[in-house]
């Protein structure tokens, strides 16, 4: 029985053309018993940054609240919103603080950073439970269905997908991967972040 698999759940983030998408399932279980089909694991950090927190349920809530604290302090003191890359390092240092008694979470970060010309640059990142960051160019995955997500994403992803196409790709990747994982599923939610808006959709998938 691994602590990382106790509650179940998976998250994936992908890069598109001037957009990013982040998606997760909605299951919370107690090992094989499913408890909730409504357990949020992906949270907004700013208008343009989302963070996904798959892993032990209690740490999902705690980390979400700790990040909220630190982001509020940052925003109020810096008088501006935090940038995605900076936030990724904040995640990393928060996790490393507990190097010898870690949070059982492998965060996934998706955001758009502002460029000097007024455009946006997509950024995704993932970390292990003690804060090792991975800035991938294509996609990042975490959770109990991570190997499945990796396989399907590798097969379906291509560069420069428009927001609508990115939505389809990430949705198919998530749905088919969690269907092969007993501990993930029971609902899914997808957020597509572009320069002007964030569109969040709940997916219709197998509820078994």
């Amino acid at each position: 029985m691994s602590i990382m698999e106790y509650n179940g759940g998976s998250v994936i983030a992908m890069v598109g053309k001037d957009c990013v998408a982040i998606a997760s399932d909605l299951r919370l279980g107690n090992q094989a018993l499913s408890i909730s089909s409504n357990f949020q694991k992906v949270f907004p950090v700013t208008d343009r940054i989302y963070v996904g927190l798959p892993g032990l349920g209690t740490d999902v809530t705690t980390l979400r609240e700790r990040f909220r604290y630190r982001i509020n302090m940052y925003t109020i003191k810096e008088e501006r919103e935090i940038e995605p890359e900076t936030f990724a390092h904040l995640v990393s240092s928060t996790l490393y603080e507990h190097r010898f008694g870690p949070y059982f979470i492998e965060p996934v970060i998706a955001g758009l950073s502002k460029t000097p010309s007024g455009g946006v640059k997509p950024l995704i990142a993932a970390a292990d439970l003690i804060g090792c960051l991975n800035f991938a160019k294509d996609f990042v995955v975490a959770g109990t269905a991570s190997t499945k997500l990796l396989g399907v994403a590798e097969g379906l992803w291509e560069p420069d997908l428009e927001p609508e196409d990115l939505f389809e790709t990430i949705s198919q990747t998530l749905l088919n991967s969690v269907d092969r994982d007993a501990f993930s599923g029971w609902g899914a939610v997808v957020h597509v972040i572009t320069k002007d808006s964030i569109i969040s959709r709940t997916l219709k998938g197998r509820m078994d």
Partner: protein, 261 residues
């Protein structure tokens, strides 16, 4: 061994007074005025800047934490106005911000305004009794909202004492301002009227002849109509000028300083 220097900085005088606290208040009476007025649908804060000048770099964006020296965002539901030693004030503002976040972390709710005032006051009181450290030379006004008691205005001083007010003033000329407020303030005043009242009183108590964004800081706390969440707005310099123009209090050309030859 060094007996001459072992008296703590905060000890009673023979008359039963704490001089250090009184000296702190004396420091505050020379600082820029901060004025607060409670309305039915919000709270208004205004302050006079003392640190001004052409060479000051004011190019920061502001709007989030407050770009000024007097008015600061403490939390999404509380704005603070400070009068006194700026360095002490910055330290207290930082403390207030962490206290608010700590409460959010523990209770998943915005800190109630009075509780925030109490946290600061408990700390300030400690500096009057323990440690041999001098008190903070700062008075604060807290303009805030919580679902329990709606809009509130508090004032705290270096002694660690606080009280709730409908309208009050700290810093230089606060006596004048306070009596003006006593005359003019009406219960059930609305924010738009409170703004007018605040600006009127400020123009009478401020050192400079007319109001302008270089000398004035301004903030309003209201409730967002749709979300029903507190909305803190610390005005940017351009917005202050626009407000003054709207209220008919803007500088006219005749009042500008003499241009150099």
């Amino acid at each position: 061994m060094a007996r001459r220097y072992d008296s703590r900085t905060t000890i009673f005088s023979p008359e039963g007074r704490l001089y250090q606290i009184e000296y702190a208040m004396e420091a505050i009476s020379h600082a820029g005025t901060v004025l607060g007025v409670l309305a039915k649908d919000g709270v208004v804060l205004a302050a006079e800047k003392k640190v001004t000048g052409k060479l000051l770099d004011l190019s920061g964006e502001g709007g989030y934490g407050g770009s000024g020296e007097k008015i600061f965002l403490l939390n999404s539901n509380v704005i603070g106005g400070v009068a006194g030693l700026t360095s002490d004030a910055n330290s207290l503002v930082n403390y207030a911000r962490t206290a608010a976040q700590q409460h959010l972390l523990s209770y998943n709710e915005d800190i109630p305004v009075e509780l925030l005032a109490q946290r600061l006051c408990d700390m300030k009181q400690g500096y009057t009794q323990y440690g041999g450290l001098r008190p903070f030379g700062v008075s604060l006004l807290y303009a805030g909202y919580d679902p329990h008691y709606q809009f509130q205005l508090y004032h705290s001083d270096p002694s660690g004492n606080y009280s709730g007010w409908k309208a009050t003033c700290i810093g230089a000329n606060n006596g004048t301002a306070q009596s003006l407020l006593k005359q003019e303030y009406k219960d059930d005043i609305l924010v738009k009227d409170a703004i007018a009242l605040v600006l009127k009183v400020m123009s009478k108590t401020m050192d400079s002849t007319t109001l302008g964004s270089e000398k004035l800081e301004f903030a309003v706390l209201t409730l967002d109509e749709s979300t029903k969440q507190p909305k803190a707005k610390i005005y940017k310099p351009s917005e202050i000028d626009a407000l003054l123009r709207a209220e008919g209090l803007a500088k006219t050309d005749g009042d500008t300083e003499m241009k150099s030859a």
